[in-house]
């Protein structure tokens, strides 16, 4: 395993508080909530695991070997799965979008779950406009479903579960002065 201090980006002499702070910042950044249904979620999970292990190791080293502590664990993708949609759900989770699309197209009963899964499929592809419409339709048809509500809420917020790094004065310390530089940098991006 690589150097746990390097993983958390702190020096081996850092105080317990600093280690904790660095850990929390990274854990927030790579939290599964930020990568829900994201095509890169597996990579984020690996990263999260690496961070958890590094923090664990440091805690153990410093306390002279203690209990394992792994916050952020226990995330499992997907909700309940039943009926003809179980297979579609699995296909989407495995990233087999072509199969999911084919199966969705063959369904005649276009209920709330159909719209939810179609939304998930579009989301995976980055087709955010369609995804949002389908998630919203799922909520309209079944307003009490938590899973649909969360998906729709995520779309309504523009996908911002994680806002660390800017806007809250944390992270790598970007200030409002950066906006100018950033603007200068991408001025002309849409200058046509």
């Amino acid at each position: 395993m690589s150097d746990p201090y390097k993983v958390l980006g702190v020096s081996p002499n850092a105080s317990d508080d600093d280690v904790k702070k660095a850990y929390r910042e990274l854990a927030r950044k790579y939290h599964p909530d930020n990568y829900h249904d994201n095509p890169l979620s597996d990579l984020a999970q690996d990263k999260m695991k690496e961070i958890n292990e590094a923090y664990d190791t440091i805690l153990k080293q410093r306390s002279g070997g203690g209990t394992g502590y792994s916050p952020g664990a226990g995330y499992s993708g997907g909700g309940s799965a039943s009926g003809p949609y179980a297979q579609i759900r699995m296909a989407i989770n495995n990233g087999d979008l072509a199969t999911a699309e084919r199966l969705l197209a063959s369904q005649s009963n276009r209920n709330a779950e159909w719209h939810f899964l179609t939304g998930s499929l579009y989301y995976r592809r980055g087709w955010l406009d369609q995804a949002r419409q389908h998630f919203q339709q799922a909520v309209n048809m079944d307003p009490n479903n938590r899973e649909y509500q969360m998906a729709a809420a995520q779309m309504n917020s523009g996908g911002f579960a994680y806002r660390g790094g800017f806007g809250q004065g944390q992270g790598r310390g970007l200030s409002c002065c950066d906006c100018c530089t950033a603007l200068m940098c991408i001025n002309c991006l849409c200058g046509g």
Partner: protein
């Protein structure tokens, strides 16, 4: 300390800009230098996002010969960015010849001739990107002819042109990350550009994906539709950021973070509020004085 870092980041961006300029000159000749802009510099930065080592040297600048400037020797990623930039410009010019009126079309045609040699060399270096570009732009033209209201599909066709550049990544993991980063950056560029052109397209009757998606006639875009569009734009920037977070820390960390975390969302706000272009700012100022 903090402000020094910012200056350093700005210098880094400028060094990358100069680096791309030199790469264009070296690989594709004098004419290619004239296509240099910030967009392509951003592309070069994205393509070398994970690079651990960047070498620099001081070189004379063609725009101010008396001064030597710090220039990045970007290696393969910059060479690739230079080639892609030439190819993208060539196809953009072809579209301009087809779309625009006589005078602008003439200018575009002249530009195309001017770039002919550079383009020939770029195609030789990156034939697959050229074919990819042509196929996708043709597909986009077909969607435009059908007046497609499917925002995602048209943006997807454009975004995939950029996402192609991820092919050159060192590992499969990096390729997936970079593809997602480029895809959502491309999606954002396409849509923000479409919004920026909304009024002129409406006046001239040209196709515009946002006009088609929200079935707009002569009336202004409604607040609800605008907010919907805003959300989808911001969502792409946040997906680009979440992809970027997964890349190994590279030399360009500060500059790229700056553009992705702050630049893209800020430009989104400005364009949607109509404050982006100089003429927009002038128009707003006129409106204000008129009401006073």
């Amino acid at each position: 300390m903090k402000s020094e870092l910012k200056v350093r980041e700005f210098d880094q961006f400028r060094a990358a800009y100069c680096g791309l300029c030199h790469a264009l000159r070296k690989e594709y000749g004098l004419a290619a230098r004239f296509i240099l802009n910030y967009d392509f510099t951003f592309l070069a930065l994205l393509l070398s996002a994970g690079e651990q080592e960047v070498s620099r040297c001081r070189k004379r600048c063609v725009a101010s010969l008396h001064r030597k400037k710090c220039v990045v020797l970007g290696g393969e990623p910059f060479r690739r960015a230079a080639g892609y930039s030439v190819i993208l410009t060539r196809w953009k010019l072809r579209d301009a010849v087809a779309d625009d009126g006589f005078v602008r079309g003439l200018i575009a045609r002249f530009g195309g001739l001017f770039l002919r040699r550079a383009y020939g060399r770029a195609v030789r270096d990156f034939p697959d990107f050229d074919a990819h570009c042509r196929d996708h732009l043709d597909a986009l033209a077909a969607l435009e002819r059908d007046n497609s209201g499917d925002l995602d599909q048209t943006a997807d066709t454009f975004a995939n042109i950029l996402a192609f550049a991820a092919k050159a990544a060192a590992s499969e993991e990096d390729r997936r990350i970079l593809a997602q980063l480029l895809y959502h950056t491309g999606r954002w560029i396409y849509l923000i550009d479409a919004y920026d052109d909304l009024e002129s397209d409406r006046r001239s009757g040209r196709y515009n994906p946002i006009l088609a998606r929200f079935s707009m006639g002569a009336e202004e875009m409604g607040e609800a539709d605008k907010s919907w569009l805003h959300t989808t734009l911001i969502h792409s920037t946040s997906l680009a950021a979440s992809a970027y977070n997964l890349l190994p820390d590279g030399q360009w960390g500060g500059v790229l973070e700056n553009i992705i975390y702050l630049g893209l969302p800020t430009v989104t706000e400005h364009v949607l509020e109509g404050k982006w272009r100089r003429r927009d700012r002038k128009r707003l100022a006129r409106k204000e004085t008129a009401t006073v």
